[in-house]
């Protein structure tokens, strides 16, 4: 097994991007405002999304000629970390990662959509169930006939606010990827466990879609989108975990019981040390996944880079999902009663962490995928 040694550090440019996203979120969308927002009619914060567009977050990996930042997925990963840290209710993952990756891979036919996404003018959603793992078979829930799409896809992330749907469908010519105006679909919001991330069931009842990739190209575009999504989701999970750790360290430093800060009790200290170790490891794994995803998108990248991107994305999902959930769960426990109340924003992170652990494939599914990639064959059942 050979692997290229990827750059696992943050560049200066990446640190600057982090600082500007963080400062924007602290200013416009602190966790308390997010909490107030989640029970409103419009969970997605479109005003915030426009502000993020202003600092280039909406089109990071898009070429400059389409209005993008011409950056790489490494920068997208840093943005994802910060958006996770802020449980920001914006369609970054659904639109700027999943749909964008699929449209980018589809090629020039989607330039129009991509330009509108980069500017923040519109958002898109990739019409697959949010729980789909990268290795899943090409979905057949939507059928194409005579240029009309029919079928229902459950649990599509960021669909409620999307303007464009990128729909995988199977027709007479085999698999295809279609761009469909959201107005032509029935988008029914479902009650999401993650209060800050809207999901919807998308029904197409004869909608017209523009074919943007077909056959093996469509399959590759969808797979690339899901792999990229898995890698960047892990960066978001890292941000969630880091917030939970930081909040808990702060809380245990100041909360006093038995005449001393609870963070001075050794059992608490050891648990937080364990968590810090796990988060540090998650950071290395996430950087590796982001770098591998970026490398697979570079000109001249081939099958080896694509394979490393898949391996690192699955590794990241297999590892970081558990870390983020653990961090959020420990945060609730170590905050005691207040962590169990609705009024403290901690539960937003718990729900995000647990949902993220299911999204784009559970750790279990990714371990199985890894087994195939690193030649550790399954046992006979």
């Amino acid at each position: 097994m050979s692997e290229k040694q990827l750059d696992l550090l943050y560049s200066e440019v990446e640190e600057e991007l982090r600082a500007s996203v963080r400062s924007l979120l602290e200013d416009k969308s602190p966790p308390e405002s997010v909490l107030a927002r989640v029970e409103s009619d419009q969970v997605t914060d479109t005003a915030l999304w426009k502000e993020l567009a202003g600092i280039g977050v909406t089109g990071l990996p898009l070429p400059e000629e389409l209005g993008g930042a011409g950056a790489s997925l490494r920068e997208s990963a840093v943005a994802a970390e910060e958006l996770g840290r802020g449980v920001a209710p914006v369609p970054f993952l659904g639109s700027a990662v999943l749909a964008t990756a699929a449209l980018l891979e589809a090629g020039a036919q989607a330039d129009g959509e991509l330009g509108a996404l980069a500017s923040g003018e519109s958002t898109a959603a990739l019409a697959v169930p949010f729980a789909s793992a990268p290795g899943s078979a090409f979905p057949e829930a939507v059928r194409e006939q005579d240029g009309r799409l029919r079928g229902t896809v459950g649990g599509v992330v960021d669909a409620p606010a999307a303007d464009v749907l990128v729909v995988p469908a199977v027709g007479g010519q085999g698999p295809g990827l279609y761009a469909v105006p959201a107005a032509e679909a029935r988008v029914a919001t479902v009650v999401s466990l993650d209060l800050t991330r809207p999901l919807a069931d998308v029904s197409l009842e004869g909608a017209s879609g523009r074919l943007i990739a077909s056959g093996a190209d469509a399959e590759r575009a969808l797979r690339r989108a899901l792999v990229t999504g898995a890698a960047l989701l892990s960066a978001e999970q890292l941000g969630v975990a880091q917030w939970a750790l930081d909040a808990t360290v702060d809380y245990t430093r100041t909360r006093t019981q038995f005449g001393r800060p609870i963070g001075s009790f050794q059992a608490i200290k050891h648990r937080l040390a364990d968590l810090w170790i796990a988060v540090s490891q998650a950071r290395a794994v996430v950087r590796s996944a982001a770098s591998a995803a970026a490398a697979a998108g570079e000109p001249g990248a081939g099958a080896q880079e694509a394979a490393e991107a898949e391996l690192n994305a699955s590794l990241a999902q297999a590892f970081v999902s558990g870390v983020a959930v653990k961090a959020a769960e420990e945060a609730v426990q170590l905050h005691g009663g207040i962590g169990f109340t609705w009024e403290h924003p901690l539960h937003l992170y718990l729900k995000r962490a647990k949902s993220d652990a299911i999204a784009l494939g559970t750790a279990d599914r990714h371990r199985l995928a890894l087994a195939g990639m690193v030649d550790l064959p399954a046992a006979p059942a």
């Binding site: 729980a131 009650v191 999401s192 019981q257 059992a267 647990k354 299911i358 559970t362």
Partner: protein, 401 residues
């Protein structure tokens, strides 16, 4: 092995006979439940270990399950008693142990029949695990006390008639020494009950604000300054209750998840299978441990496994519900209802997977955090030395808050 305690002339068979005689006189099929329970209290068959005239017969505590089982066998199982858990489980034994004859006469019977509902005003925002740090003040004022402060995590406060309450009556002595225990009338002026919403979206609990609430001194339980000792009796009774019946295999949440596994082959993966089997084994081990404790209690040999049972229950609920969500995949990304409401008494196991996951997070906090339970086991069961204490000899008012 066991020597006969006082009242032991009342053995199991004598008690079964009394129950049979009682049921012969009060047909559970035709008698109103309230009337039936009042008569049962008067017959000493409410709590057989309580004194005669106060719901009991002075019999050994271990025989209560015999009586309950016999009533059940003969066709009487009381309904609608969920709201009485604090009254029956915590207030009654405390009133019995520390109440004046007047208090016992006034409170025990309506508490038992369910006429009067009780809640517990103990925890405060600044005093959770460290309950003795509580800051709700009670100031003596003639033949009464004036009480002000904030209590939290109070279940049933919005339905309760009375509360058991601990408050600080002397801030100038170390924290354990300046606490007094009261019975608080929840309809008194200055008692303000507000629903406390939790991470599931609903509100099982309340915050209770006390604003210059007057409590007559006759409602004090135990001496002034002795409240910590009184509260120990209350808290000793706060644990997972060990019922009179063996719990069946797969009785709890593990049964729900095993059911999903059996009924929905599409969720199965080898990794989830292994995770499910590990939890199945642990759940069965926890069930057998509880059953062993039940058998010990039945022969009058309670063990320290009680706090361990509570600990294991919360850990298992959390792990099993976490697995349940992952097993459900996309369905696990959804929730049933976030509406701010009072729970309607739906059985926990029948709620959605997301609810199981979120609600069980409270299990390791409410009624003694898992951290405190571990301290108790380490110090009281294993006899490990206590940590250096910085708060024992300092006046309450001088402690860091």
């Amino acid at each position: 092995m066991t020597t006969a305690p006082a009242g032991a002339s009342l053995d199991a068979s004598a008690l079964r006979q009394r129950v049979a005689d009682f049921v012969a006189e009060h047909d559970p099929q035709t008698t109103d439940q309230h009337e039936f329970l009042a008569a049962r209290f008067d017959a000493g068959l409410a709590w057989v270990h309580f004194p005669e005239g106060e719901g009991g017969l002075g019999a050994p505590r271990a025989l209560q399950p015999v009586v309950d089982a016999e009533f059940e066998r003969l066709g009487f199982t009381p309904v609608g008693r969920e709201g009485l858990v604090i009254g029956l489980g915590m207030a009654a034994p405390t009133i019995l142990a520390f109440g004046t004859p007047e208090q016992r006469a006034r409170y025990l019977k309506p508490l038992y029949t369910g006429e009067e509902i009780w809640c517990q005003l103990f925890s405060e925002p600044g005093a959770g695990s460290d309950l003795a740090a509580l800051g709700t003040r009670a100031v003596r004022d003639g033949d009464a006390w004036t009480v002000s402060g904030q209590k939290v995590w109070t279940s049933l406060a919005h339905r309760a008639d009375f509360a058991i309450l601990v408050a600080r009556t002397d801030p100038d002595v170390p924290k354990h020494k300046g606490i007094t225990y009261f019975i608080c009338d929840m309809s008194a002026e200055g008692v303000d009950v507000r629903a406390l919403r939790q991470i599931t979206g609903e509100a099982e609990f309340n915050e209770v604000y006390l604003n210059d609430v007057r409590i007559p001194d006759s409602q004090r339980l135990g001496a002034a300054g002795e409240g910590w000792r009184v509260a120990q009796t209350t808290l000793m009774n706060e644990r997972v209750s060990i019922g009179g019946h063996p719990e069946p295999r797969e009785g709890g949440l593990i049964g729900v998840v095993s059911g999903i596994w059996r009924e929905r082959p599409e969720v199965r993966t080898p990794g989830l299978h292994d995770a499910l089997l590990r939890l199945w084994v642990e759940a069965e081990a926890a069930r057998l441990t509880k059953e062993r404790l039940r058998q010990q209690l039945a022969i009058g040999q309670p063990g320290p496994e009680g706090s361990a049972a509570k600990f294991s229950f919360s850990r298992l609920n959390q792990e099993i519900s976490g697995l349940e969500l992952e097993m459900l995949g996309g369905e696990g990304l959804t929730y049933d209802d976030w509406t701010f409401r009072r729970p309607e008494g739906v059985e926990f196991a029948k709620r959605s997977a997301g609810f199981h996951y979120l609600r069980s997070k409270g299990n390791s906090i409410e009624g003694g955090t898992s951290e405190i339970l571990r301290n108790i086991i380490a110090e009281r069961v294993l006899g490990l030395p206590s940590e250096p204490r910085v708060d024992k000899d300092v006046a309450w008012k001088d402690l860091p808050k």
